[in-house]
Amino acid sequence: MGILVGLVGFWLRQNTKLSIVEISAWLTLGAGLILPRLGSDGFLLGLICTSVSYVVMSSRERISTRKEMVIVSATCALVVYYGQNVLVGIGGRLGTFAALSVLFFNLARDYLKRRYDHDYGNHYS
């Protein structure tokens, strides 16, 4: 569900003139209205989708492709799932989880890119 919201948000960001606040707010509104009614896990799904809607607010430099959005959305879903019991009741908690996911992904991507460049350079030198 988180990945789906991430992909929808990514598509909206690429193909509409909505601002990032509007995109995130519509996704949050949809998640808040629909998912908590789906049963016992609905509220958790709502939290995951809301947090992913904040990931969607990332700049194109931070998340540039659909594949990257899928990876960060999945990471964010895991962070929300395992972080359910921290910062309970603190506003901005889901945004913090989203930011952690984006920063973690960016660090990992930059590290892998540097390593790849290093290996590639050695191979052909």
Partner: protein
Amino acid sequence: MWQNNLLIFVPLMVICLELLLPSLENAGRRVIVSLVVISFWTALRSHQQDWRRVTLASLTSLVGAVITFVLATRFQLGPMVASGLVGVVGGRLLPEDRQLQLYLGAFVGMSSAVRFPHFAHLVLAGALGGLLWELLEASWSGVGGRLGTLAASAVLIVLLLSGGGW
């Protein structure tokens, strides 16, 4: 300066304390409060503040926080629907910078009523969100969730300084 950026790390410090060092919570609180005071001091000294901009940002964030909190708690819409509504309406009516500040405030307003038994503390956290927005303009640029982290910092700072826990 790196000291300014410490303010955005407040939620992460609290998460570390909650997860890794729960036994050191009291000492940890004192350390975080000290870091917050030092960071504010250096940030306010090192920046040439345009106080009109700071005031407008604080007011916008405060409005977002209050409306979201009232919608979520008094009208019982819940934090997700309330913040979504504020974001959608703000996105239609305001220019981009103000939208972001209002949405930041909406994140502050998503706090539980248990955390903010005194409404004045929520108002303070909302205004502080706008101040942090101006002070930490360059931190974590382009990171989705940055607004939420600033909001969590504002909420935690107010809770810590008012003597409450997190």
